[in-house]
Amino acid sequence: MSKVDLSVDLNGLNLHNPVLTASGTFGFAEEYADYVDLDRLGGVMVKGTTLEPKLGNATPRIAETPAGMLNAIGLQNPGVDYLIAEILPKIKDYSFKTIVNISGNEVADYKKLAAKLSSASGVAALEVNISCPNVKKGGLAFGTEPEMAAGVVEAVVESTDLPVITKLSPNVSDITEIARAVEEAGSDIISLINTLVGMKIDIETQKPILANNVGGLSGPAIRPVAVRMVYQVAQAVDIPLIGMGGIMESRDAIEFFLAGASAVAIGTANFVNPRVSMEVIQGIEDYLIKKNHSSVQDIIGVVEAN
């Protein structure tokens, strides 16, 4: 039994602990069953899902950068029908909450995805991806204009009874503006940040490494940006935040709580250290005990600006 209370209530999404794994970095959870006690996770944000199966981008899809990596997978996924029929039944008995990340080319796609997933069993919440930098249509475009972002979120909220999480892009001039727009549109939760658009060039061939030319930067390189954005958005909205971006260990996760996140998601670190999510849960607990807090809720958003 835990000596401290790690549970959090994110506006209707109740998690037994505040550590999730980020979409695209943990597959559909069972990829990590050999390394992790999946039942200990608060939630798993499964691979980005579209209406139709998606082939994904050409290769190379990945490029390593200092303290980070660029990816341009292009939302390769088996499609929502396959997810519902073949994958969700396999993971429904775990105690983590399954959050399905959805992406569309147009608003109607998001509505259909939301409707299908709402009638499926084993889905705890939807994460609306309006910030994927690696697909040509939709994706990021929805996430950079407040009105468009609000339009997508409204459509999803109308089509589902599940808690709706909106995943924000950092590739904007003022993230608080988008955050307010999606809050007003009815988003229950905000997750942030998605990857930062970046590029790496092979100086021998004088061509970009990624087949897609540009890709999303993740890993510890982006963490200070993510912490800053969580802090700013926490000041701007009243709905709970799921913070992510370069969390490699529990100290990093704690920064996000202090900045205003009610839960955290671990992404790229899963690739480096498959056990990282377990270590982060333990580290948060140890920190709370050391600091004499009885609950993780005691540290959410308590950072005091200088």
């Binding site: 899809r61 480096v272 250290n273």
Partner: protein, 264 residues
Amino acid sequence: MASQSLAKIIANQQLNSKDYRLLISAPQIAKEAQVGQFLHLQCKEGIDPLLRRPFSIHDYDRQQGEVAILYRVLGKGTKQLLERRPGQEIDVLGPLGNGFDLTNTADKVVLVAGGIGVAPLVPLAKELIELDKEVAFLLGAANELELLCMGELEQLPLQLKVATIDGSLGHQGYVTELLEELLADSYGQVFACGPEAMLAAVQEITLKAGVEAQLSLEKRMGCGTGACLSCVCKVKVQQGSGFEYQRVCSEGPVFRADEVIFDE
């Protein structure tokens, strides 16, 4: 079942100007390893480089609980690896991937190794010899100094043929040129590992000859566990003329030559 463990380094031995052999103590991996599978190593603790590096399992001793890999120093990760010393611990995931399929193996088989691609083919040769197969081993490299595992291969009951690009030893030219000659001689199956251009040549030659082949692929890899979808290659779909992307780390690294599609 794959696991994540801290393995003690037993030896990190230089083989030539750029190739090394790393021997680690990893009893669980040694117990479960299948030829053609790989390990995903964190070359050094820290965040630069951030990602692990995949290496074919080169040797394993189930009794001693030891596993070896071969690596060529090419970038930051492998430079850090060569600085690792016996007695230190290294974070290892494995064994990963599918390995070679040894069901219904032909009686006479050819193994084609290019450069560091020899790594998984030496244990494969041993396994095939155990299975009483007649093995021809074609070993290719840029030059004589880069021909790996020669001594070990010469000790095995197999037919060894060598090719070097510069002609410093054996046939001058590509190792696949030796394959073309051999296939006329009733060899029923080919196993290959090496640079993609070599694998594409093996594919072309074996398809033309109507001989089954298995190719061990290498791609830029992220997680190694099947989650990130970075290391994919094109594989023909069952119906129609299209393709899908499959994960080298999970559906591979070994693919049938008649299913994989190499980009031009």
